[in-house]
Symmetry: C2
Subunit: 107 residues, 2 copies
Amino acid sequence: MMMQLPPPPYYAVIFTSKNPHPTEAYQQLATEMVELAEQQPGYLSHESYRNADGAGCTISYWTTTEAIKNWKNHSDHQIAQKMGKEQFYEEYIVRIAKVERQYTFST
Amino acid sequence: MMMQLPPPPYYAVIFTSKNPHPTEAYQQLATEMVELAEQQPGYLSHESYRNADGAGCTISYWTTTEAIKNWKNHSDHQIAQKMGKEQFYEEYIVRIAKVERQYTFST
């Protein structure tokens, strides 16, 4: 079953990245950051995808932009962001988006 | 190089789906729909991801909600949506989100 979320509006952080060779250190840091994010006020859920060519996408969902800002500024997350730039990612784009509508389908 | 988009605001359609066994017919239809979407007014770009377990995500970017609505109602796309429900997807969620801010990083 896919994750169901509360009715909109809520917020999505769309993080698309290029990391052609994810290392064990990267995987470990990514896992730690997910576990930490899940404990933050306003966190709703997240989902991660990676294609064979190294293109990846993580979308996290949050109640408010304030919650996203607090998570962005979390000290451990700041360190992880720095490591991401210096060691892991070739490039990335972060988009903050307000989910205005949603439609679900299931068999 | 990842796709660069115009400064926000613009819109994202986040389509997350479960299709554990993508068939050739599915792949062909998906390709046709991408080619058709690219020709629509207001289309900006798209990106697709699929994990090994069949969880997939396609995000398309559009200038306005009007453009998204027109694409949703396009006759060929309507047929594809019907086939998706009847033949391909176990479940899916479509989210319409307004991109309010973006940050980019590249090495």
